[in-house]
Symmetry: C2
Subunit: 393 residues, 2 copies
Amino acid sequence: MKFSFADRMNGVDESFIREILKVTEKPEIISFAGGLPNPGLFPVREISEAAQKVFTQKGESALQYATTEGYLPLREYIAARYREKQGLEIQADDILITNGSQQGIDLVAKVLLNKGDHVVIERPGYLGAIQAISLYEPEFHGISMDEDGIDIDKLAAVFKHHPLKLFYAVPTFQNPSGITYSREKRERVAEILKNSPTIILEDNPYGDLRFTGADLPLIKSRVQEQGILMGSFSKITVPGTRLGWICAAKEIMDKLKVAKQAADLHSNFLSQVIIHQYLEDNDLDEHIGKIKTKYHQQCQCMLSTIQQYFPQDVQCTQPEGGMFLWATLPEGMSSLELFEKAILENVAFVPGGAFYVDGGGERSFRLNFSNSNEEKIETGIKKLSEAIKKMML
Amino acid sequence: MKFSFADRMNGVDESFIREILKVTEKPEIISFAGGLPNPGLFPVREISEAAQKVFTQKGESALQYATTEGYLPLREYIAARYREKQGLEIQADDILITNGSQQGIDLVAKVLLNKGDHVVIERPGYLGAIQAISLYEPEFHGISMDEDGIDIDKLAAVFKHHPLKLFYAVPTFQNPSGITYSREKRERVAEILKNSPTIILEDNPYGDLRFTGADLPLIKSRVQEQGILMGSFSKITVPGTRLGWICAAKEIMDKLKVAKQAADLHSNFLSQVIIHQYLEDNDLDEHIGKIKTKYHQQCQCMLSTIQQYFPQDVQCTQPEGGMFLWATLPEGMSSLELFEKAILENVAFVPGGAFYVDGGGERSFRLNFSNSNEEKIETGIKKLSEAIKKMML
């Protein structure tokens, strides 16, 4: 039988990225395709100990239904961290716990967007945001990324000509490009959008993972209620518990809570209590330090192997943190074709096209360095460079 | 600043039910308002042991990102249980793990409904379904419930006059009424909707909790691909891990997976692996047996106290299972007014109006018996009967 689905499902590409990720799951493949943290760095023992404590001390309440907002001590921890690290005056009531920051994107789009509403997204942009926001049928404006962040002139032009409902960005160690907005670009974005009804959704899952350079202020620090922050425990503790958060002003938060309650009542409460216990009993910054050291090594390994083996005219971003870098082949070459060739050599990545709402990225591709050790990175990049060279013949 | 939200948020009642539940959280209140399982029955020790095993044997993989569909062994367990208990030919690929069955409702509505699409819901109906589906701006048709299930003539009339996209029902131990569809009503619903494009969403979180009477076949057993089943571990293990599932045919499942991935990538994986370990190492049916014995006692205690103390002309359903019963005051009385009076006596319930998409239920109210021991039930029902009698003066 053929059923009649909602119009919002029409434009959705069901298979491409899922097919890619399926191919890359084969054990013989060296995969730079996914966006997985290095599981060797997971604090398994510490989380296990936290879990035991929770089961012993408050098992019944941790296993019961809970409030939509999330576990209060966990929200207090997140708010205190914003105050301490960012100097932002954020309280627990400004925080809503979500299933990873991915759910945050879905909920923000749900409460904000009517069909045809205007939304800015980076090009390339985060694939998960494209997928989530697309289902609300907006009119996307893709704005290209320079080495120091989004193209400001283009943003100003879009803002001038369209009633912009939502600006979505990953300004720090962006997925997929690894690019970080400069201080000046952050200020310019805030200047352009400030005191308008445009919501600025600043997605910051990687911000803690800086290897080099100095921390930069959040765009949120230069705007008021229109700034929404999203964060995640996935990259700094573990991703399997799906714990992220939205930080938003009360007017928006009231709507988000309604949408969250309708979506799934509340996020996994047991994991909220366990992760909070872990955070209480351990030094998160010390743990993040270990992750940064390791990822920095892996990133440097990937960059130096690329420099040594890739043809000179393949360009590559130089991330100061995060989990990804972004390579671009010379004119006339196709990253999709390279993908097909590379898979034959048992190496995988994500071709760039998936990260564009409006076409583009045909020559580019995303490389993940967080989920492979240095040996695999060297082997994989060498194989990839051979595939590129063969294509150039 | 005033932001412009999506139209779908306009009709949403943000506060009423949240305010009620807030009032009922005060420790001095005997609350029959929530829908919480009895935490004294949670298998805390067993789940704790399962967790320890998981951390020891497969900590890294249980804490990593995972597939959108959910943990394969858990989906296999669910499918096998459908085959064993219901005789339905269901396989793991037919199952998608969700954040409780609440998320299942949201995802099904998301992939099916355009604004204005026609949806049948019971009156009274499950509040969480009303909240989730409302955000997709359907045209609801509320169809009243008799003692043996939905009013078949009304369903036939609605089906005849409207292109029905979705029929949502909780046919077994319904929330809020405690009513169970008779075998005949199940057959009639299937007959009316069969071989049409109407999706039948059969929500069955309480089906395992039968105290008396014989099990009845699912409506799904009489229809083909158009039947979607939803289930939940919340009422038979613990709710805090938010684990439920959708069981759907491939054509629908493909869309649901796209929507699930966009919504939050996947459900909490650690909890999926832990709950599966718990199910492997323990006898679920034995545990369900304990729950049923206890809830049956609590239900009987509530019913007999009602019979003894409530005025004769207050009507009450006689549930054969589940967690709720439904009381109706005599003509001219208001359950909302009773709520205000009862709160002064430190007893709470949910007034009936919240469960109707189209007005109604002014005389009725929902009583939960699963989350109070017999002493509290007796005390609370006595106080409630005094409040009713005072109102009748």
